[in-house]
Each structure stands twice: as C-alpha cells, then as structure tokens.
Symmetry: C2
Subunit: 212 residues, 2 copies
Amino acid sequence: MPKFNVKDINEMNKIFRLNLINSCTGFKSANLIATKSNDNISNVAVFSSVTHLGSNPPLLGFILRPQINERQTYTNIKSTGFYTINHINSSIIDKAHMSSAKYPATVSEFDITGLTEQYENNFHAPFVAESHVKIGMKYLEEYSITANGTILMVGEIVHLLIDENILKNDGWLDLENADTCIISALDTYSKTKKLKRYEYSKPYTELKEIEG
Amino acid sequence: MPKFNVKDINEMNKIFRLNLINSCTGFKSANLIATKSNDNISNVAVFSSVTHLGSNPPLLGFILRPQINERQTYTNIKSTGFYTINHINSSIIDKAHMSSAKYPATVSEFDITGLTEQYENNFHAPFVAESHVKIGMKYLEEYSITANGTILMVGEIVHLLIDENILKNDGWLDLENADTCIISALDTYSKTKKLKRYEYSKPYTELKEIEG
C-alpha cells in the first residue's frame, strides 16, 4: 500500500506531487467563474474550489492564486465587486478546460473558447449561457492564507438562475438533471450517478432515505 | 426558468433556502474528518468542504461551524494539533451520514456508526480504516470569516495512505477505483464516472486528452 510522509512529499518530483496532492482531497466542484473588467473585457476561468460557507446570509467562498493566470479574475472582482459562478456540464468540459490556459488580460476567454456571455438584470458580470445553474455574486471579503499566499474570496449570492427540471419542491437541486460535472486532480472531468439521499441524521435514530 | 434574487433568498422558508443554497455550488468532496481528544475520546464527522490550497507545501483547508456539532472536531484539533481526512466510499455512506448527528462529546461516533479506528505511525488522530484514501493532517492556521462566523481551518498533509490500484505512475489518483463518493446539498451521496482527462491547457493550442 503506497504511503507517503511529509518528507516523501517534500522530496517528490514536482509533477508527481502536483497530481498527487491535487487528487487527494477527492472530487471537487466544477465551476466557471466569470468577470468583466471596467474596460468591458470579459474573463472566464475554471475553478474547482467553490465552497459553501453558509445559507443565511447565502455565502460562498473560493480559493485564488493571484500570482498565476487567476490574476484577471482577482483584479476584476476587486475593481467591479461582482462575479458569476456557473456549473460546468458535460457539453462544455472541453471549453471549460481551454479557459484555464494563460491568455493575456486583453483577450476574453469567452471569444477563445466559444462559451457564450449572458447578461441578466443589469448585473455587471457575464453569466455563462451554456450552464444550467448560474449564480450572480457580490464580493464581500478576502482572506490571505499566510501559509502559502493563496486567497480565500468570500461573496454573497445575489442572483440564482436555474434551468427547468432541476429545482425540486423542497429547494433541493437535482444536479444530475443539470448534468453538473465534477473535477478530480487538475485535469479530469467526471459525471455522477446518485446513490442515496438521506433525511437529517438524528442521534440514536435509524437513518431514513428520501426517495425520488 | 426559476430565478431568485437576494430579496427572494432572504425571504425564503428556512428549509427551502438550506436545500437550495447548499445545492447551488455543485457537487462537493465527501470526507470524514477524525480527531481524538486529550482524554482519548475519538470523534468522526462528515465534511463536504475540504479544499485544496496548494501542493508545495501540501496544504488543505476546510470550513467549520463551531457553534453546532462540529464543535468537538474544532476543540480536538486546537488542543491536539492533529486530524485525519478520509474519503467516503459507497460502502460507508450510511455510516458517514449517521456521524453527522449531534452526539455528546463523551460519545465516540466510531462506536455509534461502526466505523473502524486505525492508528498509524504513532499519529495521534485515528484514520478511518474503511476509507481507501486517508490523509494525516497537522493543524496550521485558522481564519474566522467575519461575514458569518464560520472558520477556515488550514493544515499541512503529513501522512498519505492510499490503497492498491489507485495511485498511477504520474501521481494521479484514480478516485473511481477508490470508489470515492461525492456529496450534493446536505444529504445526497453520488458515485462518479470519468468523462475525460485533459493535458495541461496551453494558449492557442488544441486540447489533448490523456487516455487510460
């Protein structure tokens, strides 16, 4: 059974470590984050770190590495205050992955990849038309992680656009119907198949499944 | 097409909002975080917020809500400095979900759920024996999110234990072989099916798939 300790990890080949450490957290959310500069140049890039922070107020976070090609996302969010989060589905995994290449700030990854900008409710940032779940975000706070210089960006949901046949009566989204994909490591896209939905777990009480 | 703005979200029924906002980020990593108190009472709970922060040094983060039943995880990490992150696979989704119930601090969720504690390399925190990918973590930093009082916990990987037939030659983990599951909303567990693995994306260059 492969075992690695901190010394093994530090001494690894760089690419091997990149693949291993990026794989080891399990599957990750697959989203496109889109912004538009004050000069009206749009930007879209794939992110696998979008994380739920709370429901009331509705807050989401994601991790940025501002020293690389995520810089434009950071600059646009800080200067305009707005961004969108859009689910990646199986029909756009190639375009999503293309958006992760390092293009100059003067180039829109929407033009390069063929993804379609969608504007709603006079919201400054573009939504990705091809996504079936789209979130309009207002920037709130940033936290610089001392240990490695990454940044946790915190924002509030101000718009939520959901295609038909995804929203259920109790607010639960059928992400399989949305064809929402997931990412593993840096480069791998998968689809999903539901196993079980459970009721809220109570102490010393048998687990109940929610059907349908 | 269902559309919600910030006012709609604020005025929603609480359960509807909880389901909707917890669904809207897409699928989430499915992990069990295990700790042991200084009094040797072990604790294990399901977390869907484990996030990659960086490969060198190998850093992971996760989000805690210390006011609810994640309090024991927080207390044990802060007092002992160590925890483990263990992938949830399809054979333990019921036990994983059971661990999310509110048990008193004197009770070990290992005993309640039937999950098995595994100790390795004199590491203080227990690993979950049933997991096929297990990570030993050293606590580094915490960040309190002003907007809602949640906490980002940051730690460094110090041990990585991987079952057979998961690690590939280039460090990439085949998480489908690991039977690693994913979570959506608060209560739904799914398995995955790989669509494509791509090479690193370069500007103005056709995307190449990595086979196998």
